[in-house]
């Protein structure tokens, strides 16, 4: 792929990602409304489909209030950094065999871990720069949570790497061809690794039950307390995008990427592979996030860290060892 082509794809995919994030808000609102016996947005457009546009229009008119004592530069720049960092994660996702910006990057997964780990920084800076006690508490919680959950996230992410023998996203998907999706095969380690990875991704993206950095009943929005208008939206959109990208990463690492179930039965063409399968898997995993979000309560911050250090890290270490043994003995790598 030439540089110009991948630049073009990058621009298209990047703007598409923003749109998808906006409409995923609509999708979440509709889904949550049905869980709560409500109709959800109905007014703007057919079944409220144009609601994100209306929301965006409204938010653009809102005044951006910057507290007098805030660090103005950091306050304004942190949402942009958060959004840019999250968008950078999209670069290495292989949407299909042909669509993708840098799916063939040979350190694809490492890129995701590295940039994902950096994303705690804009969050923390946003909280710090607000000069608000609630935002500061949220920022501290965010830092503690992200740093802790980075460890089991990395360790459980190592399992598909071991199984596929590569950091390259393309090759991880290729290793799952023929129905050997890592969530199902080898039975055991893959599924457990998926569970761990998904759980840690929830914590990384500040979703319930791990949304303590912005616990709005305790900290009134945490890091986002003082961010108003468009910069607040960008900060929250970045979080949404983060959730979306983790769903896409899960689909890539554990659910065979662009491969459809048709390939299991030797079919070819539409049912066997394509962009639509990747998008479908991402959306289903994304909906699972909502479903969990609208059903569970949230943990306390100390319990959250306890879960991580007491259970998740030992479990993921053990899982990694088991997988390594599996790969050595069974697959004879």
């Amino acid at each position: 792929m030439s540089f110009a082509l991948s630049l073009l794809t990058g621009v298209v995919l990047g703007s598409l990602a923003m749109f998808v994030a906006a409409w995923s808000i609509w999708w979440e609102r509709k889904f949550a409304a049905r869980l709560q016996s409500r109709p959800g947005p109905t007014e703007v457009g057919p079944i409220g489909l144009l609601q994100p546009l209306a929301d965006g229009l409204k938010l653009m008119q809102k005044e951006i209030i910057i507290p007098r004592a805030a660090d103005k530069l950091l306050f304004v720049i942190s949402p942009a950094v958060a959004a840019a960092g999250t968008l950078a994660l999209f670069a290495v996702i292989p949407w299909s065999e042909t669509v993708g910006v840098a799916g063939d990057l040979n350190i694809g997964l490492l890129w995701i871990f590295a940039v994902g780990a950096l994303l705690v920084l804009p969050q923390w800076v946003a909280g710090w720069a607000s000069n608000n006690k609630y935002a500061l508490l949220g920022a501290m919680r965010s830092a503690a949570q992200s740093v802790s959950y980075e460890v089991p996230l990395l360790l459980s992410g190592m399992v598909p790497i071991l199984l596929a023998g590569s950091f390259q996203m393309d090759e991880i998907v290729a290793a799952q061809q023929g129905g050997r999706w890592f969530a199902f095969w080898p039975p055991g380690p893959g599924a457990l690794a998926f569970g761990l990875f998904y759980l840690c991704s929830l914590a990384e993206a500040n979703r319930i039950p791990f949304d303590i950095p912005e616990a709005e009943s305790e900290l009134i929005g945490g890091v986002t307390t003082e961010h108003t208008g468009m910069i607040g939206v960008v900060l929250q959109l970045a979080e949404y995008l983060h959730t979306l990208v983790t769903a896409a990463v899960c689909a890539t690492l554990f659910f065979g990427g662009w491969e459809g179930p048709g390939a299991w039965f030797g079919m070819e063409g539409f049912l066997a592979e394509g962009l639509h399968w990747m998008v479908l898997k991402t959306l289903v995993l994304f909906a699972l996030v909502f479903w969990i979000r609208w059903s569970w309560m949230r943990y306390r911050s100390d319990q959250l860290l306890k879960i991580c250090w007491h259970y998740l890290i030992p479990a993921s270490l053990a899982l990694l060892a088991v997988t390594a043994i599996w790969v050595r003995l069974v697959e004879g790598a």
Binding site: Q36, S37, I208, P209, D211, A215, E218, W296, M297, R298
Partner: protein
């Protein structure tokens, strides 16, 4: 379990501590060395349930001292009562505890009836009991939902629980709308009886609603009784029963700490002496015990209404002495008189102490004893040592209504 006998009540021995947190802890929050942060929770905070301001001195996330400030919702109801007549007051006190308005009216009306010696007919007594229990059901439903909000967030699992309970509470409000024409401020009770008689077919719709709500209660337990909820509530905010008694806290919070006391059973009013009331008592003393007590109370309320709804006697709903002019209900005695009557509101003992001036139609002094005031006064004793997240949960589990605290 080991119990101690304190003031005639056996309370779980393990809950009785020798001391509780010092509410007057001397803290200099300007001391840079102390590493403390003064955090103002409220008056505009999502989980202070109204406009309560709680000043927290926190060390990291651990609270060291907690000072509640009241008065943001002070409307001078007691002063208004001095200027209004006995007939007018029930419509004003409706706004005190805005989650259970029926209870407010009932409390003041009972005190005025005691003071002015007004007879209440049989039918009105039974209707009072029925609407009181329905109101308790509605109030506890709201509590489960809003407590879910405290724990699960407005955009999260708590929001779902909140909307589910509001969906069911709406049915009870519809019943009240059928009965009184108001959805929230009913003005239903009056000294001497009720203003509105039951509409035709009301009993049948009550039974229908009760069946519906009873079927939905296990769903709330499904939503809540899980690992996360357990971790957030079990062992959090344990309250000493002795402290509760000294502070005058009653109701579900006291019953969750093992104090077996319920005015409906121990000092029966209306027709509670006719029904066999089963008072749920838990010995945990923590937030989870309060949840269990309130869930059990909802079931108990449903049972009580079912018992009573079919046996409402015929007759007038208002006594012969009921008159409707401004100065009609008078304290007729030549001497000064006073009366105190208390009911068990969803939050505890809701009492009215009224001093009657001779031959006057309005009270000299009308003191409303709200249960929520005592609940908020607990905070300085139990919050120190807890995390901010837990303080939100504890405050929610106490269920104070700020309209009632500030009056």
């Amino acid at each position: 379990m080991k119990t101690l006998d304190i003031g005639g009540v056996s309370v779980p021995a393990e809950l009785v501590k020798s001391s509780w947190a010092d509410p007057w802890l001397d803290i200099d929050d300007y001391d840079a060395e102390s590493d403390l942060m003064a955090l103002n929770m409220g008056p505009q905070h999502p989980s202070t349930h109204g406009v309560l301001r709680v000043k927290l001195f926190v060390d990291g996330e651990i609270c060291v001292k907690c000072v509640p400030y009241l008065g943001y919702l002070h409307r001078g109801v007691e002063k208004l009562c001095e200027k209004l007549t006995y007939v007018q007051i029930p419509s004003v006190v409706d706004k005190n505890d805005y989650v259970s308005p029926m209870m407010n009216e009932l409390a003041v009306c009972m005190a005025f009836e005691k003071l002015c010696e007004i007879e209440v007919p049989e039918r009105a007594q039974v209707i009072r009991t029925v609407v009181a229990e329905l109101q308790r059901l509605a109030s506890h439903l709201l509590w489960v939902g809003t407590w879910g909000l405290d724990m699960g967030g407005a955009i999260g699992g708590g929001g779902t629980l909140f909307l589910h309970t509001f969906r069911e509470r709406e049915l009870v409000l519809d019943l009240f709308e059928d009965l009184t024409g108001g959805r929230f401020h009913y003005n239903h009770h009056t000294p001497g009886g009720q203003r509105h008689d039951l509409p035709a077919g009301w009993e049948a719709s009550v039974k229908q609603v009760l069946t519906f709500i009873e079927g939905r209660l296990p769903e709330y337990e499904d939503m809540t009784d899980n690992r996360i909820f357990f971790a957030r509530t079990k062992g959090v905010g344990v309250i000493d029963p002795v402290l509760l008694m000294e502070l005058g806290v009653s109701g579900p919070v006291a019953r969750a700490s093992g104090i077996d006391h319920d005015l409906r059973r121990d000092a029966p009013y209306c027709v509670y002496d006719r029904v066999d009331l089963r008072v749920p008592v838990e010995t945990g003393g923590d937030c989870y015990a309060r949840f269990l007590v309130r869930m059990a109370e909802m079931r108990e309320s449903i049972r009580l209404v079912r018992l009573l709804i079919d046996s409402i006697p015929p007759g007038p709903v208002v006594g012969a002495k009921m008159v409707k002019l401004p100065g009609a209900v008078k304290f007729k005695q030549k001497e000064w008189g006073s009366a105190y009557s208390a009911i068990e509101s969803p939050r505890g003992e809701l009492g009215t102490f009224v001093i009657g001036e001779p031959k006057k139609a309005s009270p000299w002094r009308c003191k409303i004893r709200p249960p929520s005031y005592h609940l908020v006064s607990l905070l300085p004793y139990i919050c120190p040592g807890e995390m901010i997240s837990d303080i939100v949960v504890i405050l929610g589990s106490l269920d104070p209504i700020l309209g009632e605290v500030d009056r």
